[in-house]
């Protein structure tokens, strides 16, 4: 038999002109615009909506808001599937399809309800105590089944097709919560002229006033306030917007839901709003607590105020014969509402007296004072058991409503670490304090009459306006005349000793679990939470946390203040990962950096790879069917004729000023004092701890003007480092640092025929060896832009780097290709480029890895003997000059047909293979020149081991190859080719 829910013939804030069809568990139902899924289900008499987490007990709708622990549903299909959504928060839209969760095969007949038989095995922390034997691996066996039974809804594994956007918003005063307190605050601020953003989780403003009768003093007040709000253009109202977190910098994280608009492709489904406010007013209200009694989780048991909401806002009477059990006055309003709707109402008041008892009786309500609720009977509820004095009795009913007071929603106020404090008056926690510019008012602060709330909301508005520097005058806001009961000065919590008493409905945590947790020594409230999982569900314990703390305090015989609360962290309620990602997905996850030749590479069919944020050509498929074959062809081309490579990704920095030379001389290990105008030098810089930081070529363009390059990956770090030194360490030096990475396109021509290409391309520029010796620079023009040519080599071949303004980069490449056609110039990619430098033993990023010194990589000779450069002093520390350090060597693979891998660990032949070995492989390639697999490595004892045979092991793939230690210069050891 189902609890009869029925739609009242009139009243409520639903639109009876707009009926809406929806389905739940495959059955079709009908509701109205303005309904939630929960109110529509109740209107259709549906009382069973889910099965509980552990015990699979039947559950019904418990509340009317975000605090709902039971009625979690899944709706949507495939990639749009949304599990664990509280039915109380779902706006009813045409065609909505919802499914209940955590039951098989059906809600009515759930096989796992058998768990209730095993209840004693499933108490708090069971997985630490049971299912532990007979062997140590037994848990892995049980875990498989427990995991499948765990959880509530199931997430989709398909990609989410919906669109989520991000908005950055600003305001003077942000007000969180649009109940009467928030509305009063908004009007108060707006009158001062300041900008206001009013944030409301519901689809309509009004807060608790929406749960009052839809005709009467409250409704009139709300309508008037709404009209006033609409009259202020500086008030922005954001409904369907949940403020889920308060962050540093007075930033509020908000999710605005547009799901109700339906799945239109390309339309924003949810919007992340990062709202920055100068001042914030918290008017987040309070959530009702239930009484604790045996079998308090049965369908048909609800929060008193929730039943009023269904009655007054949605015109749904959830029962005809109602028991209202309470320990405070606020539930009397619910009793009156139902009596007026024609229900038979009995109030069980735990207190000996109440000022509202007499007027309640006048409305035909039976009021029984000094009556303790003991248990609910029937599923759904059909009777209650209670005690009065020493006797116990029962009462029939079809709806049991309870109230044990109200818990202020302090979450956001404590996200930045301000702990809430206990207010014994209301039996709950209120904000501990407020930072400058933050204010709180209303039920959040324990002000429970509507009149108090409105007054204090208006005062908070004044405070906020003044904080923003506005002139604000108090303005009387009318308060509605409501006959209210307030929840203050509550009796101590009464907990029955018999039966299953649930504290956290969503995680199936009972009073005996809390007692068990205490007995087993989990004494801190943080441990209680994690051991029992109380408060860890999607409702985050909104109706159970305070009870749990009170029970813990009882068990430990201490005060609630001493027990304390757990830490509140964002999000206040669940937030989809998709809305946090926004549009930073797929190709937009990070920006893409393209060189001036990007399209030029694509037109030639280049295979591109990502190097940091850059796209670079790995190889050109016109040279071979795969990267291996193509790179070999490209390498051979460079060594025998000439190749063209795009090196525009190198960091480029201009350093200029009267003290530029001094600055660079202190920065680099090299002695730059003798660097002449028009010449360049290969330079290295260290970190302050003596480790090699980066390397590049420094060119002196003029007496006081230098142009230097950095490695691609370190460009940003080097620029910041240089600016740090110039602005903080040596501010007296007159030097200016500018990044020109994007200003210049840079191409390298490498190979014995490179000079021929230059001569053909630039007949007006003298590029012979006398005019352009090694490391020198000449300047000219190309297509109206400055052109620079430097003779410098990264491959060991005769080579030149050509710089031109980046808007002419592609044109320059075309020009060089045309000029070089007679000698067979071809472009080559980064794979070949890297392989060529390995053949020459040039240290690059894989050897300059943040652990190596100048000596380690064989460049010790570059450093000024006198020191005086960054990192000089600490570079001479014993740990960095230890001769056993790993130093640069070459490796030749001795096992034909086997592959040497980067990262391989080196051991001497015959030595035990344990630990990190005596060296590691930093770079590998096939060398067409030597027809062998070669590599570079850092090896303890380095150059002294040349000639020895080692084992290079790669444990991840269980591989091992024999290698011989050789000089790292595999090709042209005399360096003759550079003059070819």
């Amino acid at each position: 038999m189902q609890v009869s829910g029925s739609r009242l013939p009139s009243g409520g804030r639903i639109d009876r002109e707009k009926p809406i069809g929806f389905s739940f568990d495959g059955r079709s139902y009908s509701g109205y615009a303005g309904d939630t899924l929960a109110s529509a289900l109740l209107a259709n008499g549906v009382s069973l909506v889910g099965r509980s987490f552990k015990y699979h007990r039947p559950r019904g709708i418990f509340s009317a808001g975000i605090e709902e622990p039971n009625a979690l549903v899944t709706f949507g299909h495939d990639g749009r599937r949304d599990p664990n959504v509280p039915a109380t928060m779902v706006e009813l839209v045409e065609g909505l399809e919802a499914q209940s969760q955590n039951r098989w095969p059906s809600l009515g007949f759930d096989v796992l309800a058998v768990n209730q038989v095993f209840a004693p095995l499933l108490s708090a922390g069971f997985y630490y105590k049971t299912f532990m034997g007979p062997t140590r691996r037994a848990w892995l066996f049980y875990e498989h089944f427990i995991r499948r039974a765990a959880g509530l809804g199931k997430a989709s594994l398909q990609p989410d097709p919906d669109r989520y956007d991000t908005e950055y918003a600003f305001t003077d005063v942000a007000i969180i919560g649009s109940g009467p307190t928030g509305l009063a605050a908004a009007l108060s601020v707006a009158r001062s002229g300041a900008r206001v953003t009013l944030i409301e989780q519901d689809g309509a403003i009004g807060g608790q006033m929406l749960s009052q009768p839809s005709e009467g003093a409250a409704a009139d007040w709300l309508a008037a306030a709404g009209a006033d709000i609409a009259g202020f253009p500086q008030i922005t109202v954001r409904t369907r917007s949940t403020a889920f977190g308060l962050y540093d910098g007075n930033t509020i994280g908000i999710v605005e839901r547009r799901d109700h608009l339906g799945p239109e492709p390309g339309q924003t489904r949810q919007l992340l709003v990062l709202l920055k406010a100068q001042s914030i007013i918290f008017t987040t209200g309070a959530i009702e607590r239930p009484l604790l009694f045996a079998d308090n989780d049965r369908p048909g048991v609800m929060l008193a105020s929730a039943a009023s909401t269904y009655l007054n806002r949605f015109a749904v009477a959830c029962g005809r014969t109602i028991v209202v059990a309470t320990n405070n006055d606020s539930a009397y309003a619910t009793a009156r509402d139902f009596a007026a709707a024609g229900s038979k109402v009995t109030v069980l008041d735990a207190r000996p007296a109440s000022p509202l008892a007499d007027s309640a009786r006048k409305h035909g309500i039976t009021v029984l004072q000094d009556h303790q609720l003991l248990a609910a009977h029937g599923s759904p509820v059909s009777a209650v058991a209670f005690r009065s004095g020493s006797s116990e009795a029962r009462l029939s009913c079809d709806l049991l409503l309870t109230s044990a007071g109200w818990t202020p929603s302090v979450h956001l106020t404590s996200h930045l670490g301000i702990r809430p404090i206990y207010d014994a008056r209301i039996g709950g926690f209120v904000p501990g304090s407020f930072a400058a510019g933050h204010f709180g008012a209303g039920a959040l602060m324990g002000d429970y009459t509507t009149a108090e709330a409105i007054e204090r909301g208006a005062a908070a508005g004044l405070g906020a306006a003044c904080f923003c520097g506005r002139k604000a005058e108090p303005h009387a806001i009318p308060t509605p005349d409501l006959d209210e009961g307030i929840a203050r000065d509550l009796p101590a919590l009464a907990v029955p000793r018999r039966g299953k008493v649930f504290v956290d409905l969503q995680t199936d945590v009972t009073t005996s679990d809390i007692a068990l947790s205490d007995r087993e020594g989990f004494r801190s409230v943080e441990h209680l939470k994690r051991y029992t999982t109380l408060g860890m569900g999607t409702d985050q314990g909104k109706t159970s946390n305070v009870h749990a703390i009170a029970l813990m305090a009882l068990a430990r015989d201490q005060s609630i203040e001493q027990t304390g609360t757990t830490t509140f962290r964002p999000p206040y309620s669940p937030v989809a990962v998709g809305v946090l990602a926004g549009r930073s997905i797929h190709g937009h996850f990070k920006p893409i950096r393209r060189t001036p030749l990007h399209d030029w590479h694509l037109r030639r069919g280049a295979e591109m790879i990502e190097v940091g944020l850059w796209k670079r050509p790995l190889f050109y498929p016109e040279h071979g069917p795969d990267v291996g074959a193509a790179a070999i062809a490209e390498m051979k081309l460079v060594r025998s004729a000439v190749g063209l490579v795009d090196v525009s990704t190198l960091g480029k920095i201009e350093v200029a000023g009267p003290d530029a030379l001094t600055f660079l001389d202190r920065l680099y290990v090299n002695n730059l004092g003798k660097l002449q105008v028009g010449k360049g030098r290969y330079c290295v810089m260290l970190r302050d701890d003596g480790i090699v930081f980066d390397e590049g070529v420094v060119i002196r363009l003029a007496e006081e003007r230098f142009f230097l390059t950095t490695s691609t990956m370190k460009a940003a770090d080097v620029q910041s480092w240089m600016e740090f030194l110039a602005q903080t360490a040596w501010p007296d030096l007159r030097v200016h640092i500018t990044s020109v990475t994007d200003e210049w396109a840079m191409l390298a021509l490498a190979g014995p025929r490179s000079r021929d290409v230059l001569a053909a391309a630039f007949p007006d520029i003298a590029t012979d060896d006398e005019s352009l010796p090694k490391m020198a620079v000449v300047t000219g023009t190309f297509a109206g832009e400055v052109l620079r040519i430097q003779r410098v080599s990264y491959s060991g071949e005769r080579a030149y780097e050509i710089h031109v303004g980046s808007r002419r980069g592609a044109a320059l490449a075309d020009h060089l290709m045309a000029a070089g056609q007679p000698v067979g110039v071809e472009p080559y990619g980064v794979d070949a480029m890297g392989a060529l430098r390995i053949e020459k033993g040039f240290a690059a990023g894989s050897e300059i890895d943040g652990t190596t010194t100048l000596d380690d990589i064989g460049l010790g000779g570059l450093a000024k003997k006198s020191g005086g450069f960054a990192g000089a002093v600490l570079s001479r520390r014993p740990t960095l000059t230890n001769p056993d350090r790993r130093r640069l060597v070459g490796l030749q693979c001795l096992d034909a047909g086997r592959q040497l891998r980067t990262g391989s660990i080196l051991f001497s032949e015959g030595a035990p293979q344990r630990g990190h070995g005596i060296g590691h492989v930093t770079a590998v390639t096939f060398s067409p020149e030597t027809d062998k697999q070669i590599g570079l490595a850092l090896l303890s004892g380095g150059p002294e081991r040349i000639g020895e045979t080692m084992l290079a092991t790669f444990p991840v793939r269980n591989e091992m190859v024999r290698v011989r230690v050789v000089s790292p210069v595999f090709v042209d050891p005399d360096g003759a080719r550079i003059d070819a």
Binding site: P591, I592, R593, R594, V740, E743
Partner: protein
């Protein structure tokens, strides 16, 4: 909304060793010294004062800028390093999806150097919308980003030239 790409303009970074030095350098081009964070605009030229001693001079392609022999400062030609995006749209509707800057608090003579999608950009007010100076190598990526991020804005129809 329309996005037009312009790479025909002049851009110079002007740095001096003192505020007076910066004033003198700009004066040699008949340009004034704005406040830090402010922009001065006149036919063909704009001056943006980035820090007390550092400014950018942005000029049309055909404006003749005769730089003095640099004494008391450093002048770096950055004309190739940026693309200028002319974005024609209601700034108030479009910018909130792109960059966390409070437009209402900005005076009419302000320019903004900030970050969009992790890319450093300079935002300038313009007739009918706003201009962005973006590093050339990030230009295409930023246009794709702006196109995509603003597609959710009400009343934005896209046309990228």
């Amino acid at each position: 909304m329309s996005i037009k790409v312009d790479d025909r303009f002049q851009l110079f970074e002007v740095a001096a060793w003192s505020e007076k030095g910066l004033e003198a350098l700009l004066a040699s081009l008949d340009l004034p010294l704005p406040q830090v964070g402010e922009i001065f605009a006149e036919a063909g030229s704009r001056v943006m004062r980035i820090t007390p001693r550092l400014a950018w001079v942005l000029a049309d392609a055909d404006t003749l800028l005769q730089w003095p022999a640099t004494d008391g400062g450093v002048i770096v030609d950055l004309s190739n390093s940026r693309l200028r995006l002319h974005i024609r749209a209601r700034a108030a509707e479009v910018l909130p999806s792109l960059v966390p800057v409070d437009l209402e608090r900005l005076g009419p003579t302000a320019f903004v150097a900030s970050m969009m999608h992790g890319i450093p950009v300079t935002i300038l007010r313009a007739e009918g919308g706003f201009d962005l100076l973006v590093p050339r190598t990030f230009g295409a990526s930023l246009i794709e980003w702006i196109d995509d991020a603003t597609a959710g804005c009400p009343g934005v129809s896209r046309a990228t030239a």
